[in-house]
């Protein structure tokens, strides 16, 4: 004890603080626990059962406090036993003050260095752990949580907090360890736009923000424990000139934050920033792919569910795609259409009618519409096929009913013509013969089939108005009085009146009305001139004159065809249309036309 007191005095003189001086191994361990001294000077021979070496061993393994032996023993065996406890020095009694001083200084320095090395290895391990996690974990939230845990576990931060912000600067994801129940409160204040000042500062500039004394400025912050040595480090997480969020840690540190700690934190922040950037890009790409897939599905649905058959044909005419409606149309499974040769679609107009040959050999009429498209990077043709079989059938039925009604009309008109002929036996057959000649002239003039039918019908009933004229006048053998002639002349107007309300597909009533007009305006009933007379009426006029001159009348014999042709030639371009006259002349002279 006397030696111990001497040593204590010497140590105080040298400027050290002595927290305790004890005489047994048990007490030494107890004091080491409570005092946490920087160094312990230990004698090997102690009071009680435990010797100094045993006590040092426990202090070393449990508390990691450096021990320097101070003893008179120096035999080989004792030294060997002491060595196992990894002492920082060994001083043999008796010793000088200088010897004690230098041994203590060396021990303290060695201890400092070891702590630094351990610290550095912790730092490196932390970085490695974080990087391992970044390469392994692709889920952002799991990654952030993992990083928080690793930092707290490996580096010994008392709490770690990571926030991810979106484009507008609002927090979008969080992770923490060690913050505890105040975490939600923190997030709420962040969301409300009232983050702690240090966060705003962190987000506003690159680099690490250090708060060495949290007791003053972080009074309200749950991250800052009111414990001595608590410090806060924060840095924004950035990559490619974009700020993705921030990381904040609190650490208990007994001296100002050293540069290793700062560079560790900086590196972790950079790594997390890059990881967030990578994940974001991957998510954006995934989203883009998903959207692309969705729009493709939508388009596919439009095609799949289209009521029209759709096939895509390549430039060689081979089918590349078949939709369900086309399967139905062709009555074949798409596997039996796709890959087959449909033929290169050649079209002239907007749509083309084709006949689809079904498996059952029945044909379906389809309207084909072609659009040039690109299919799998090559030029192709999309043929949309609409089944128009029913439409065709309806059209055909309609056509048939139209034809039928026209036939009935024709028959009705013929009946009228016959009725007229019966009434006036002297001109019997006149109308039919005029119709015959009219038909041929119209044909020669290049009239359409429909126009020919119209002018023929008009000719066959051109004198229908004579029903109004008493039969005695029509068959009167002598010259007619002016009154009688007036009555006969009225047959054009009467015929018009009879026919005007019947819906013909041709201007039958007008033709009948005008068949006594002459191109110089000398005709009746309206005295129309060339341009106002229908061509059909001009034909009918010539045919009427020619036939009449070839027939007997009660009041005269037939002048004959030569006289008739002479008459029309003489008045060609005066009374009669020159083209009609030429054609009529040609028919009789060249084509050998005769009345039946």
């Amino acid at each position: 004890m006397i030696v111990a007191k001497d040593i204590e005095r010497t140590l105080v003189n040298l400027g050290y603080q002595v927290s305790s001086t004890v005489s047994s191994g048990k007490q030494a361990i107890k004091k080491a626990k409570t005092d946490k001294p920087d160094l312990i000077l230990m004698d090997i021979v102690l009071r009680g059962e435990m010797n100094g070496i045993e006590a040092a061993e426990q202090i070393h393994t449990r508390l990691n406090i450096p021990v320097v032996y101070l003893t008179a023993y120096a035999d080989k065996k004792t030294l060997q036993r002491a060595k196992i406890t990894e002492p920082y020095g060994y001083i043999l009694k008796p010793f000088s003050e200088r010897e004690l001083h230098s041994t203590i200084e060396i021990a303290l320095h060695k201890c400092q260095m070891e702590k630094k090395i351990k610290h550095l290895s912790d730092v490196l391990r932390t970085i490695r752990n974080v990087n391992q996690l970044i390469t392994k974990e692709k889920n952002r939230d799991k990654l952030l949580k993992g990083i928080c845990r690793k930092l707290t576990e490996t580096r010994g931060y008392s709490s770690t907090w990571i926030a991810v912000i979106d484009e507008s600067g609002k927090p979008s994801a969080y992770a923490e360890t060690g913050v505890g129940r105040n975490f939600s409160h923190l997030i709420e204040s962040f969301k409300q736009g009232n983050p702690p000042k240090c966060w705003e500062k962190t987000l506003s500039k690159p680099g690490v923000v250090v708060i060495e004394d949290t007791s003053k400025i972080c009074a309200e912050c749950p991250l800052a424990r009111k414990k001595s040595g608590n410090r806060i480090l924060s840095a924004r997480l950035e990559s490619n000139n974009k700020v993705h969020g921030l990381i904040i840690v609190s650490i208990v540190y007994d001296s100002p934050i050293d540069k290793d700690e700062l560079s560790l934190f900086r590196e972790v922040a950079d790594d997390v920033g890059l990881a967030l950037h990578t994940i974001k890009i991957k998510e954006e790409r995934k989203q883009a792919l998903k959207e692309l897939g969705e729009s493709e599905t939508r388009l596919r649905n439009v095609i799949e569910k289209n009521a029209d058959g759709i096939i895509v044909v390549d430039n060689n005419g081979f089918v590349q795609f078949t939709n369900p409606a086309a399967e139905k149309l062709f009555q074949r499974k798409k596997e039996r259409i796709t890959g087959e040769s449909f033929g290169f679609p050649v079209v002239a107009g907007k749509t083309t009618e084709i006949d689809i040959i079904r498996k059952d050999k029945k044909k379906v009429v389809a309207e084909m519409h072609i659009v040039d498209i690109e299919w799998k990077g090559k030029a192709a043709h999309l043929a949309s096929l609409r089944d128009i079989t029913k439409r065709k059938q309806t059209e055909k039925a309609l056509q048939q009913s139209l034809e039928k009604s026209q036939r009935i009309l024709q028959e009705t008109v013929s009946a009228l013509a016959i009725a007229l002929e019966k009434r006036d036996p002297y001109t019997a057959g006149h109308s039919l013969r005029v119709a015959q000649l009219t038909f041929e002239i119209a044909k020669q003039l290049g009239f359409s089939e429909k126009q020919i039918r119209g002018v023929h019908m008009a000719a066959s009933i051109h004198d229908i108005g004579k029903i109004y004229v008493p039969a005695e006048i029509l068959s009167k053998p002598n010259k007619l009085t002016e009154g009688e002639f007036m009555l006969i002349k009225s047959h054009c107007q009467v015929g018009y009146d009879i026919l005007k309300n019947i819906e013909f597909p041709w201007p039958i009533a007008e033709i009948v009305l005008q068949h006594h007009e002459r191109i110089n305006g000398s005709g009746y009933p309206q005295g129309l001139k060339d341009g106002d007379i229908l061509l059909e009426a001009k034909i009918l006029c010539v045919a009427d004159v020619v036939e009449a001159m070839c027939s007997h009348r009660p009041y005269r014999p037939a002048p004959g065809i030569d006289k008739a042709l002479e008459e029309i030639l003489q008045n060609k371009g005066v009374l009669y249309n020159p083209d009609v006259v030429d054609v009529c002349f040609y028919l009789f002279k060249e084509k050998g036309f005769t009345f039946k």
Partner: protein, 90 residues
């Protein structure tokens, strides 16, 4: 010599027109240096299956090679010759 096959479905006014127009086109283009076989699939339905004809009117160019198949409206001469790959083969 150009060898062609035309597939039609039934002798209708429509198919008669197609044949008439096609013959005129071939006449103009190749004089008498062509043969056109006309196959009515209503008369010989088994040929539809055998020659794998999905629809009519289909025109097949057998010679000169390569064989070509076109379908649709053959009234546009340019389009027909293009489809048959005969544009530079005049």
């Amino acid at each position: 010599m150009h060898r062609l096959k035309l597939y039609i479905a039934g002798s209708t006014l429509k198919s008669e027109n197609i044949i008439k127009n096609l013959k005129q086109l071939l006449e103009e283009e190749f004089n008498d240096q062509y043969s056109l076989e006309i196959i009515d699939l209503i008369e010989s339905p088994e040929l539809a299956e055998q020659d794998k004809i999905l629809a009519t009117p289909t025109l097949l160019k057998i010679e000169p090679l390569p064989a070509k198949r076109i379908i649709g409206d053959f009234s546009n001469k340019k389009m027909v010759l293009f489809g048959l790959d005969l544009v530079n083969n005049k």
